[in-house]
Amino acid sequence: MNLPEALRYTSTHEWVRKEPDGTLSVGITDHAQDALGEMVFVELPVPGRQVLGGDACAVVESVKAASDVYAPLAGEVVAVNTELADDPGRLNKDPYGTWLFRLKPADGADLSRLLDAAAYRKGLT
């Protein structure tokens, strides 16, 4: 199972990467894409939307099922990956290179609440 050490994770199978500008990129883990199967549709949030940690924020649909993607922390959606509309299969081919949305974390949002690779891996077994 591919789990980059540099990323943070949630128990609901999102990965989170802190960008140089302080925003957080959010995607789904290799485990999630493998369990869901080939992606055929992605529904992304509207930029500007305020979310709480744990809010359903995007939807990924595979040949098999629809699955919510949750906001890892509270904040504002500042960008979405529009390239996914025409090529949702990128989530399967390159799960950690394919972000879904970027979040500007709310004041006081605590990144240390997220899981590191080892803790996420533990939750999978």
Partner: protein
Amino acid sequence: MRRTPLIAEHRAAGAKLTEFAGWEMPLHYGSQIEEHHAVRRDAGVFDTSHMLALDVEGAAARGFLRHALANDVAKLERPGSWLYSCLLAEDGGILDDLIAYFLGGSRWRLVLNAATADTDLAWLERLRPAGVELRARRDLAMLAVQGPRAREKFQAAFPGLRERDDAFFAPTGYTGEDGFELLLPAADAPDAWRRLLAAGVRPCGLGARDTLRLEAGLMLYGQDMDAAVTPLECGLAWTLDLGAGRDFVGRQALAARAPRFQSLGLVLETRGVLRAHQAVHGEHGEGVVTSGSFSPTMQASIALARLPTESRPGERVQVAVRERRLEARVVKPPFVRRGRILVSKENA
């Protein structure tokens, strides 16, 4: 979980396995979309050994099947000929759908769904008169070889093979493509599978099987139909043989039971994916999606839906997809047959 004689072959081919009706079956071998395309454009093979081949034999077998099945096996005069039929309860509800093959003489073979095999068997055992023997052929494996190049590649894999008593071919399938189904002794199945793969036939799992049958407008038992609906309510009126003088199980109830709804196709006109159980709103009232998915051939979402009897192809409906209502167009299935898209994807 039960396993077919091909479980080791599935593992060797890299299958992602899943539970289906108590059986451990391949969902896909890496890409169900590629498997789907292989069947539409070339050739694919499915392990369908989880389905039950039930041999029906004896002097009274023909009369028994004419009574038990809603379609009439009297039409089958040539050995190897076949028909599709529903197995009905007394109230006209569908207990299963099946294919009946005439093997010649007083021998017949039914192929039943895995999930309903046990209840079908109990039901048929109850209806069975003296002079009919039912024999569950769990000693056989079943392969479906499907696609425009299925025959050609099969012949390359088995040069000179002739049909014989222990290798039975039927020109049937569940994909909307040319091809056939092959029943053979379980012990011979792994070798046959390996030969087919070596001839360039792609192994295909249940995932591709489902999108192929949906594109072909073929109903899935337990999803598009069940004991609560009649053939008249799910697009299977054509499978009823209402010829005079035959009293089959469920016939009287069907005559007295007006259809409450019908089954038609939907094509989603926006991005998104239709799924079973989504509510449908239209000018004639409410309906529900019974099977929905993404069509790899059409690159759009399609569905089979239970709609009011007044609904007609060409109408627009709205489907509740999460918190939104998405526009869809009503069409008459099939969506795709023999590699060709039969319904227009764009606004008609």
